[in-house]
């Protein structure tokens, strides 16, 4: 469920990046101000643990498929939300850089979906409420399970919203939600069970590790004021994006209606999409020549050979594209040869 760069628009990616970067800065400050500096090596090693743990599979009973561990909830329980968020962000950064799992720009979205929701919503408002100040085995089990499932549901919904606002995918909201939420419900249940199993194991053998973050000690203290501030900020940002899109969204709907009625005007869909995209992107005021624009112009001049001219542009696009691709490969090989001979000298 890692978002990819190719599926988001710069505006969505940038906005969520800003939100995630702000959260990282805030959490870094919280962790630095924390008196207990044991947390710094613990965070690093715990992140590596999540990484290693995700590599071990287990079989899911009755399905034959295999699942692995999701990280944020274990981290929250062990480290508290701030350190957990930072650790999750760093795990996702390594995944993005080394395995291209989610791109650099989509990293903001991934950190937000997989870090913010579990650490700052599911952990304080679900896990802590259920586990309470005096946790027991059962309370921890139920709390972890519920928090993992709901955290993942929120994350999946985040993916849906980000994809929708980016306008790259054609998937309508309803279908996408119906597709994402049940899949992630299943994943969430499995992940929650594993998380609960690991946490209850730790609880049985080293209860003090978990008690530290659940008890209202200074390191695990969670002020509601800050959560509310963070939520407010998130609401303002989301509201900002929503109002930003509110004006252009009807365009998209209108366009969909046009689409289903099978209107012949080629430029209408193109226009709707691009006006939407330009509004979203803001930066790119200039529209490059697309096929429809040319065909629109040619429609005005002489109506009948629209498709021929249209295909003409596509053919030139193809020819030129192939040419440049060959050129790119040629440049690559030429440079390689040159550096190769130089390294021999």
């Amino acid at each position: 469920m890692h978002m990819a760069d190719a599926l988001i628009s710069p505006a969505v990616g940038g906005t969520v990046w800003a939100a995630s970067a702000g959260l990282i800065a805030y959490c870094s400050k919280k962790v630095r101000d924390d008196v207990d500096d044991r947390i710094i090596p613990l965070m690093g090693v715990a992140g590596a643990f999540i990484f290693a743990a995700q590599m071990i599979n287990f079989t899911i009973p009755g399905t034959g498929s295999s699942g692995h561990l999701g990280g944020a909830m274990i981290l929250s329980v062990l480290l508290g939300p701030y350190a957990a968020f930072l650790t999750m962000a760093s795990v996702l950064t390594v995944q993005a850089l080394f395995f291209a799992d989610g791109g650099l720009l989509a990293l903001g979205c991934n950190i937000f979906n997989l870090g913010f929701f579990p650490c700052f919503i599911a952990y304080p408002f679900i896990y802590k409420k259920i586990a309470g100040e005096k946790p027991s085995q059962n309370r921890i089990l139920i709390g972890t399970l519920a928090a993992s499932i709901l955290g993942l549901q929120m994350g999946a919904f985040g993916v849906v919203l980000e994809t929708l606002f980016s306008g790259i995918s054609e998937l309508p909201f309803g279908t996408f939600v119906l597709m994402m939420q049940p899949i992630h419900l299943a994943i969430g249940i499995v992940e929650g069970m594993v998380t609960a199993a690991v946490i209850s194991f730790v609880w049985k053998s080293r209860p003090e590790l978990i008690q530290k973050t659940t008890s209202p000690a200074p390191s695990g203290n969670f002020s509601l004021k800050y959560v509310l501030t963070a939520l407010l900020a998130a609401a303002v940002i989301t509201g900002g994006i929503l109002s930003w899109f509110a004006s252009s969204h009807p365009d998209g709907l209108e366009w969909a209606v046009f689409h289903t009625t099978g209107s012949e005007e080629l430029e209408t869909p193109g226009h709707g999409v691009y006006s939407l995209l330009t509004k979203i992107q803001g930066k790119t005021a200039f529209l490059p020549d697309y096929n429809f624009k040319t065909s629109k112009n040619s429609d005005i001049k002489k109506p009948e050979p629209a498709s021929i001219i249209d295909s003409g542009t596509s053919v030139s696009g193809l020819v030129g594209g192939a040419l440049v691709l060959v050129l790119a490969a040629f440049i690559g090989f030429a440079l390689k040869k040159r550096s190769g001979t130089r390294s021999h000298l």
């Binding site: 628009s9 760093s90 020819v319 790119a328």
Partner: protein, 270 residues
């Protein structure tokens, strides 16, 4: 089982690649990070039906791959491994958007297929550029660059720590997974219960390890602040590198060179 070993070898391989000494490796990591970011933003700012204008952007990874002497097939395989999510989301475009946008003789292409191709090209470009960045920069240098560019120090240090211990812990986890599969017959003991114990033990060991590391750090005078003794040098070469590539990307964003070139060719033939 093979998965964990592959991941381990994979990380190691990327690390080895980044340790080389070529022109691409010598450029300051900040310049490369910034250029890659600009590259990604320009690529994804294209409209969803764009294909031909995206092609010139292959020049950047191609140049970096050859300057950095990176293995093309290896990087390409890494991209293929992660492409399924983009395919899963993108494959709905051809099903939903059936408007014919392109005709080539008897063949016609719907808008959905064009936007699907566009997503795949964008994915290859963005994912490829990130892999190229890390393969010719190295993770530690990227962390340094992040810190110099304003990321919080705790976060940068956390990334360095994480990277340092990934190798150790993956090694440990792979030994545990190995031991489990050697003792498991007919898939027994591969379920959630044993998995929970397995990870629980790994976690406890991890925490103990963190405590030992912390003590060792205290012994060496750790006071909550991590000092990194490495200097980054950005000279005129870095400035030229960043500005030239950015100018190229922005020019390619505004002028569809393949279309112009193709038009010239097709018109001169006709």
């Amino acid at each position: 089982m093979s998965r964990i070993k592959t991941a381990f070898l994979d990380l190691g391989h990327m690390d080895t690649l980044s340790g080389r000494d070529t022109f691409a490796h010598r450029i300051d990591p900040r310049a490369k990070l910034l250029t890659t970011l600009i590259f990604i933003i320009t690529v994804i700012s294209f409209g969803k039906y764009e294909i031909s204008a995206l092609i010139p952007f292959f020049i950047f990874p191609a140049v970096m791959i050859s300057l950095g002497e990176l293995p093309v097939y290896y990087l390409f395989r890494k991209i293929l491994i992660v492409i399924p999510f983009a395919v899963m989301i993108g494959i709905f475009n051809p099903l939903i958007d059936r408007e014919i946008l392109m005709r080539l003789g008897p063949f016609s292409l719907s808008g959905g297929w064009i936007s699907f191709c566009s997503i795949m090209i964008k994915f290859t470009l963005t994912a490829g550029s990130v892999l190229v960045l890390i393969a010719c920069t190295g993770f530690n240098s990227v962390c340094m660059a992040l810190e110099k560019m304003g990321a919080p120090r705790v976060f940068a240090v956390q990334l360095l720590f994480l990277y340092r211990y990934i190798f150790v812990l993956i090694d440990e986890a792979s030994r545990m997974a190995n031991a489990r599969s050697l003792r498991s017959f007919d898939g027994k003991g591969k379920g959630i219960k044993v998995f929970g114990y397995l990870l629980g033990h790994l976690l406890l060991r991890t925490i103990d390890r963190a405590q030992r590391i912390h003590l060792a750090m205290l012994c060496r005078g750790f006071d909550g602040e991590i000092r990194v003794n490495r200097r980054l040098e950005a000279g005129i070469r870095e400035v030229i590198f960043t500005i030239a590539w950015s100018a190229f990307f922005i020019a390619m964003r505004f002028y569809n060179i393949p279309l112009i070139a193709g038009k010239l060719i097709t018109e001169s033939i006709l």
